[in-house]
């Protein structure tokens, strides 16, 4: 499950970067407002996201090879990762550290609310799946 959560985090970070940064161009490659510490954390996060994706897929392959992969746990892990990262990004990055905002030049509140609710929903789906997987595992 942890392995798939890693993949989930990587995917969500990748989606965030690709969809919102590149396709929509909502927030930019470089925000003039950010301090150097923001730049550093962004670079670290970006690199960690790439490494997490590569490591996640190899760990996944390793689990399959050992026949240790539980599909229901894996699904739960992906959702936990997706939701966890989304919420973390929404709360810590956007609000607490104020690294960047989702969109500039408009009232950001509805976007923030939507972003965090979407993250919460994904996280809840992950939790439900995890509990169900655990039950099935025990009864099996």
């Amino acid at each position: 499950m942890a392995v798939c959560a890693l993949i989930g985090v990587g995917i969500m970070a990748g989606v965030d970067e690709i969809v919102f940064h590149q396709i929509l161009g909502w927030h930019h490659f470089y925000d003039r407002s950010v301090a150097s510490i923001g730049l550093l954390s962004d670079g670290l996060l970006h690199t960690a996201e790439l490494l997490a994706l590569v490591a996640g897929f190899f760990l996944f392959a390793d689990l399959r090879r050992r026949d240790a992969l539980s599909r229901s746990h894996a699904r739960a892990g992906v959702f936990l990762g997706l939701g966890g990262f989304q919420l973390f990004d929404g709360i810590v990055d956007h609000k607490v550290l104020r690294l960047h905002q989702i969109r500039y030049g408009v009232d950001v509140t509805p976007y923030d609310v939507l972003w965090n609710i979407a993250g919460l929903v994904l996280l809840l789906i992950g939790m439900v799946l995890a509990v169900r997987a655990q039950r099935r595992h025990r009864s099996a």
């Binding site: 490659f29 790439l50 590569v54 190899f58």
Partner: protein, 275 residues
Amino acid sequence: MPVHVHPAPDLVGVGPSELVTGAVSLLAAAAYLAVAARLRRRGDRWPVRRDMSFLAGAAALAGAMPSVLPGGPFTAHMAQHLLGGMAAPLLMMLARPLTLALRALPPGGVRHLLVRTAHSRPVTWLLCPPVAAVLNVGGLLLLYRTTLLAGTHHQVLLHAAVHAHVLMAGILLTVSLCHLEPVRQQWSLSWRGGTLLAIGAAHAVLAKSLYVTAPPGTSYALADLRTGAQLMYYGGDLIEIALATVIAAQWYASTGRALLRSRRTPPPRMVSKAL
């Protein structure tokens, strides 16, 4: 602000350092292919994909000439940096040239010298992942955050020295991270992964800072600077993914071998439990 036309560097066209680079890569590729062919005639197994990888690396090195690369001067410089400093070392080192040389050379003489050098204390130090990383990042900081880059436009030797350093530092980093060659010390997965994370982050931060602040003493057009910085950022990502894949694939292969062994000979503890 009037658009400042970048003064044409002295090295437009094919300069002496580019001729030397081209000749060296051609010679290296020819030598590699000849030795690999000899090894195969002798009956050794040496995968063709290694030949291909070395050829591609040598081609990347030879093709890394600002005069033939598209884009403005800074973008071309950055493409050269990516090809010569990152892609070429990775592709060439994946072909395991040192292993090839050690297999092909007769015992004693040159072979002994090569082993002695590869196992010597200074080389072992240089191949420590954090040291190799500092050599890389330090070189980049010097190049882009001092007037060094501006200086290379007027001094042929300095220009050549910078590119030689970028190439050598790239080779050191690749060897220290990828564990493909028989060197003295092999570093653990966490050291290599941590170094890759740190250097990837440093590379990304430097690329982003170049997007807004040009190297001191240079006068590149803003659009050129920005394209070059983005090229550095995303090109760095590609190399980083490639390096991470090499490291992860090695882990996968070695744990796979361990798994096979443990399946073939179950540890005694498990047997007693089954009884």
